[in-house]
């Protein structure tokens, strides 16, 4: 076999925890090899070893049959292994072109002076060749997340690597950009480049992968050919047990109206949005980028300034001002990015869990009720099955799925009426996903009204009682659970309203 890269008996231990246990894997030339497994299965550690971020405690790495040792990520890059990490690594104050050629800028021969003309031309060519529509002279910070991600991908791809590692590359991308990415992947494969691909999105894995390796608890469980893969086959391997239906049944009855929105408009973001959210209901918000779906959820929580129109919550007219006011009025909000918007990574779990109800529940005349805080936090992490060594731990020390549960836990405390969820399962493994879905169901069963904004189609179809579809800042459809299909949602999401 034509193996480009091989791992032999690789192990890694972090402070007593075996994260990788004697893993042997080979990657063939020109194949897309997907790595799947729950959070904590060892995927990230594995690719960090391959890309030179970590060093293996035991075992060898073979590149084209020769043993290699990477002391730093730059070594791996020099050896032709380019990595696209989950977190965007760009420098926001630099232009797209500068970011693409970061640390390998073209220079005037024999000098240290960057040849800016060549740099700009090179970037333009590359972006054109990849079929992307990106202004290479724009500063990174001016671009939306998904475009930044595409730049990052272009950078990784342009490094003339023999192995490209992609960790959750589609996490922030819209449908169009995803197509562009898959195009690039095909192109790379045709040029004999090996791709190591990590994704929690099973349908991506099924449609792209030539081979799939399953990791669980740091061990390699199996490597399958792409054709043999199916959800029924992979998921039991990943979690080591049968997973009951991913979207568990909900026993909630939809009750009276809780949130009534009439003719809500905000600048150029959305216009004349009206809908009613009922007790015990899970209402899906669907739409492509800039459709207004996400702007409406953010606005309802007071993050986008004052909209025009009328909002009543529990019979009371609401003045949207700021998050503090919205929380006081019974609206809770789970933001999409847990690290930058949700969690206090270096504060203990108690601070993280009680932050949303400091005034209403956990203090009396501004004095904290420490014991009550601790008992409620303990109860919350148990109820949400957060894997942790105790309340003194900080979210920075937890895995992605557990971080997400902690953030969700913050809003399970207190008497909210409306819970707005933004991408509640982004970057979270199957096991944690189903846990989060069960939680959402139990909120609904307790009578909470839930808005679920997600870009994951199966989630919309599996979880929502109704789906509101947005396009071009207008509400284009309200579909019931029975009516909603993937095709229909997409159709309405693409419908542009000219107003």
């Amino acid at each position: 076999m034509d193996n480009v890269f091989e791992l032999q008996g690789v192990s890694k231990v972090f402070s007593g925890n075996t994260v990788l246990d004697d893993v042997s894997l080979s990657f063939r030339r020109g194949e897309l090899h997907a790595l799947v497994g729950e959070n904590g299965a060892g995927k990230s550690t594995l690719i960090k070893i391959i890309s030179g971020v970590y060093r293996a405690d035991k075992g060898t790495l073979l590149l084209n049959g020769n043993p290699v040792k990477f002391a730093a990520p730059s070594d791996a890059q020099m050896a032709g292994i380019s990595t696209l990490f989950q977190e965007i690594q760009e420098i926001p104050e630099m232009t797209v072109a500068e970011n693409i050629f970061l640390r390998r800028e073209p220079r005037y021969p024999g000098t240290f002076v960057v040849d800016r003309k060549k740099l700009r031309r090179g970037a333009k060519e590359l972006v054109g060749r990849l079929g992307l529509k990106i202004d290479t002279a724009a500063k990174m910070r001016e671009l939306p997340v998904s475009t930044r991600k595409m730049v990052e991908i272009a950078r990784a791809v342009s490094q003339k690597a023999s192995v490209v590692i992609m960790d959750e590359p589609t996490a922030n991308l819209n449908a169009e950009e995803m197509q562009a990415l898959f195009h690039m992947i095909d192109d790379l494969k045709n040029h004999g480049v090996t791709i190591i691909y990590i994704s929690h999105r099973m349908n991506e894995v099924f449609s792209l992968a030539d081979r799939v390796s399953v990791l669980r608890d740091g061990k390699l469980i199996a490597t399958l050919d792409g054709e043999e893969c199916s959800e029924e086959r992979l998921i039991p391997l990943m979690i080591g047990r049968e997973l009951n239906a991913l979207y568990p049944a909900r026993r909630s009855s939809v009750g009276e109206a809780v949130l009534e929105v009439k003719n809500l408009s905000l600048g150029r973001h959305f216009k004349n949005i009206s809908f009613t959210l009922r007790k015990g209901e899970v209402l899906g918000f669907a739409g492509l980028e800039a459709s207004g779906a996400n702007a409406v959820t953010k606005t309802l929580f007071g993050l986008c300034g004052r909209p025009s129109g009328e909002i009543t919550c529990g019979g009371q007219r609401l003045e949207i001002k700021n998050p503090a006011e919205s929380i006081r009025n019974g609206i809770a909000f789970l933001p999409e990015d847990r690290k930058t918007q949700g969690l206090f990574l270096n504060q203990n779990l108690v601070s993280n869990i009680t932050a949303g109800a400091l005034d209403s529940l956990f203090s009396k005349r501004s004095i904290l009720k420490s014991r009550f805080e601790r008992s409620q936090s303990q109860e919350t992490i148990e109820r949400l099955t957060v894997k942790t060594r105790g309340l003194h731990e900080r979210p920075a020390e937890l895995s992605g799925g557990n971080q997400q549960k902690v953030m969700l836990g913050r809003w399970t405390i207190g008497s909210h009426k409306v819970l707005i969820l933004e991408e509640p399962t982004r970057g979270v493994d199957v096991g944690a996903k189903s846990e989060i879905y069960r939680q959402i169901n139990s909120f609904a069963e307790q009578g909470l009204a839930i808005i679920l904004f997600t870009t994951e189609m199966p989630e919309l179809l599996g979880m929502c009682d109704r789906v509101l579809v947005f396009s071009g800042g207008a509400l284009t459809a309200a579909l019931s659970k029975e009516e909603a299909t993937q095709e229909l949602i997409l159709q309405y999401a693409l419908e542009r309203h000219v107003s």
Partner: protein, 343 residues
């Protein structure tokens, strides 16, 4: 047979102690360093460990420690205040001018506190609503205040009749403890309580840790930030009043209490105490210990014949050491823990 383990109450179980040890690592490290210095000092100087000198040391420390606690609030939210030295100068000037003109102490003190509050409010408002870097803002307000002092005084010192009652604050004792030390103890205790037990303290921590997340979970981030700057200026004001009360006159150029360098001493104390300039990390006790370490060195060195020139040098190195130990740097102890993010 009763082992040590079985005798110890549950509160001192090994697990609790390790958690506690990890949480208060910096504080413990500095406390140990201070103990070592105390131990070594008895061989170096016969004077250092006498009760008189120790009380004197505490008095010297009090001015810095009070200012440092104020600075701690600002550093905790990820800010910085370079204007506290100048605040101390303004406070000194205003208080002496008022007293020389016969304004009673009971009126002077509230007025001076109001001046301090205004300085903090202005700093805080410019930082939050003007969306400017705190470094720049407080550098500018520092300059402006120093300018005001020089214009008002013409660079000349002010002295005259200062009420005895006021001088008692600086030079007096309660029991055998100097008044500034008592004030320091009260303020430290108050700050400790606020940080541990109040929603305001918690909001300072979470705002420093992640502003966006604090905003999203219902904290009025701007108000918290402005409050931190106000507290910082108020603590500096108290520190300034105490040092004026020691001297009883105002000198704009030499600046009592080392006012011009004061912000740097205060920042150093906070950082040595384990706080991070990035915000969200640090404790009141750590800050106090940091200021104490600073005070001990300044007190000990002259006693053992170290000239002030070398003193600066050694102090610099000790601060560097303390900061290296308290940060998780690679130079000391264990390597930074690699956190396996999600496997």
């Amino acid at each position: 047979m009763a082992t040590l383990k079985s005798i110890l109450p549950k509160a001192f179980s090994k697990k609790r102690l390790t958690i506690w040890g990890k949480e208060y690592k910096n504080e413990i490290a500095i406390a140990l360093l201070i103990v070592v210095i105390f131990f070594v000092s008895q061989f170096l100087s016969p004077v250092f460990l006498t009760p008189n000198n120790l009380l004197n040391l505490l008095r010297q420390t009090a001015y810095t420690a009070i200012a440092a606690i104020g600075m701690y609030f600002v550093i905790l939210i990820g800010g910085i205040d370079l204007s506290i030295g100048a605040t101390v100068q303004i406070v000194g000037m205003v208080s002496i001018i008022m007293m020389v003109r016969g304004v009673p102490v009971g009126v002077m003190i509230p007025v001076v506190l109001a001046v301090g509050l205004t300085v903090g409010l202005v700093n805080g408002l410019i930082v939050t609503y003007g969306r400017l870097q705190p470094f720049v803002v407080t550098l500018v307000t520092k300059q402006i205040m120093q300018g005001i002092v020089l214009v008002t005084t013409g660079g000349a010192s002010i002295s005259g009749d200062v009420p005895d009652a006021f001088m008692k604050i600086g030079a007096g004792y309660i029991g055998f403890v100097p008044v500034p030390v008592v004030v320091m103890a009260i303020l430290v205790a108050a700050a400790f309580f606020v940080m541990k037990k109040t929603t305001f303290g918690r909001r300072l921590y979470i705002t420093g840790s992640n502003q966006t997340a604090a905003h999203y979970s219902g904290t009025n981030v701007r108000r918290i930030k402005v409050m931190a700057y106000i507290l910082c200026a108020l603590f500096a004001t108290v520190s300034g009043l105490l040092s004026v009360a020691r001297i009883g006159a105002f000198q704009p150029t030499t600046t009592h209490g080392g006012a011009t360098g004061m912000e740097l001493n205060a920042i150093a104390a906070v950082v040595v105490g384990g706080a991070s300039l990035a915000g969200g990390k640090g404790s009141v006790i750590g800050t106090l210990l940091g200021a104490l370490l600073y005070g001990i060195l300044s007190n000990l060195f002259p006693l053992i014949g170290v000239t002030s020139y070398i003193q600066q040098l050694i102090q610099g190195f000790i601060i560097l050491m303390a900061v290296l130990i308290s940060s998780k740097g690679k130079l000391f102890g264990k390597k930074r823990k690699e956190v396996g993010k999600d496997g």
